[in-house]
Symmetry: C2
Subunit: 257 residues, 2 copies
DNA sequence: GGGTATTTGTCCGTATGTATT
DNA sequence: AAATACATACGGACAAATACC
């Protein structure tokens, strides 16, 4: 009984949710009702509910009440499918999403040319401050925000090799990877992913419509792709809200699996 | 200025932190000082700080003050190294951690025999309720809690094939994968990982010493391993605190990379 | 559309407890 | 022992969103 009152209230409600006595979508007692039954003030009850909100167990709606959150049906993304096929992430995204009987859409890329920041230069094996092409896209599934993706390419691909479509602000329908292979013989033969989880920034909170308190984490994938000479040709940074996405990666699984 | 006062205070502090005016480890003004400068009540200031705490930007210590959190040096775990070597995760963990000049330790496994729950049965392609062997370990790096791992094996490996060491509550130093290959010709030739991020449960909060409010997410990896006949031989569930771990996975990267 | 009741959101002030210095 | 700073708890007032008549 050493626990403070607000936590005892929160733990009690959490147990009711986990035992199913408060089912998904069910309304919790109002703050005033909880205050009465626990002989607590409304402020204390609100502290308890705040904790459940941070734990993503409930959501409160002004004028309506507080409800047990429904489980989200996750979108499953296969991080390893790409390299098997040499398809490139852009095309792969459309294939994957359609396979789950959902509808993909992505915005026309925003294209910029920038001096490479430290991380980008390091991953692309460029001198710091070298020019890089940046292509940024918003992706949707069933018109719901799904991911934000930014790809960085060495500017040499354009200036030396002549890959001019990289700097056009238009979707490359076949995928940049196939474009680079077909036109310039640059093949993506391998990649390395670095995966981190962190709190969202403001633009992510806005785009994904995340709760303001930042309790929904962001899943961030840095993918460095290499060509047949072992040179890095691209860094792709993709972020997803962690509450509605699962990821798969596999090594040499048998068919079906 | 439509934003409520507590959020304006929080955003102002957050900008100061991001601009470095409040450096890592620096102490914020006390709640009373902030209340005075913003003409707000202490309760409102506390609401603001609560938001920064949820966003993992600051941490409060009674009697001392509230401080900007220091960045954590992450432990990097390679999710794909294992299958290249056929080493098995257990041995790989020791190799990986030592390579980062840190000290690994894991507890003696807790071994149980259980009827398979739905997920386990499905991943191991067993009839629901079939017996499975469960081996649970706590892992440490530099004596700090690092991961919790539970592996499930079909009981047939013991009853039919005679892999009796699976049900001994003792570390299999060479790794279960090498044990199964050496003694029984069962080779792990492939795997599939499913990765999710979720809020911690009570035992995870306790083991990893996570803050009670549950704002630190848990990174969860379900790895199903397959033998040379395409049969699943193991399901390993590993959980890590998302705030201090990064993950790498790669496909066919050139040497060094 | 308007008005009213309900419910959560914001903000205030105060008092007391607990951890740290 | 005393001072400082955050933690818990109370209660009240009004605002904002929603639902319903």
């Amino acid at each position: 009984m050493a626990d403070p009152l607000y936590r005892r209230i929160a733990d009690s409600l959490q147990r009711e949710i986990e035992r199913g006595e408060l089912a998904e979508g069910a309304q919790l007692p109002t703050e005033q009702e909880l205050a009465d039954t626990w002989n607590a003030s409304r402020s204390t009850v609100r502290d308890a509910i705040k904790q459940l909100t941070t734990r993503a167990l409930v959501e409160a709606h002004p004028g309506q009440g507080t409800f047990v959150r429904r489980k989200i049906i996750p979108i499953v993304t296969d991080l390893s499918a790409t390299h098997d096929l040499g398809t490139g992430e852009a095309a792969q995204y459309y294939i994957d999403v359609r396979r789950q009987r959902r509808t993909p859409r992505s915005t026309v890329p925003r294209v910029e040319i920038q001096p490479a920041k430290e991380l980008v230069a390091s991953e692309l094996a460029l001198a710091p401050g070298s020019q890089v092409v940046l292509r940024h896209q918003q992706r949707f599934v069933d018109e719901e925000p799904y991911s934000l993706q930014t790809s960085f390419y060495p500017m040499q691909l354009v200036t030396v090799r002549g890959a001019n479509r990289l700097i056009e602000a238009a979707d490359i329908e076949e995928g940049t990877i196939q474009y680079l292979r077909r036109e310039f013989g640059v093949e993506q033969v391998g990649y390395r992913d670095v995966i981190t989880v962190r709190t969202p920034n403001v633009s992510e909170t806005t785009f994904f419509l995340l709760p303001e308190d930042g309790h929904v984490a962001i899943f961030e994938n840095f993918r460095t792709s290499y060509d047949q000479h072992g040179e890095p040709i691209r860094l792709t940074v993709t972020v997803y809200p962690a509450d509605r996405n699962w990821f798969i990666t596999s090594g040499n699984v048998p068919a079906v699996g």
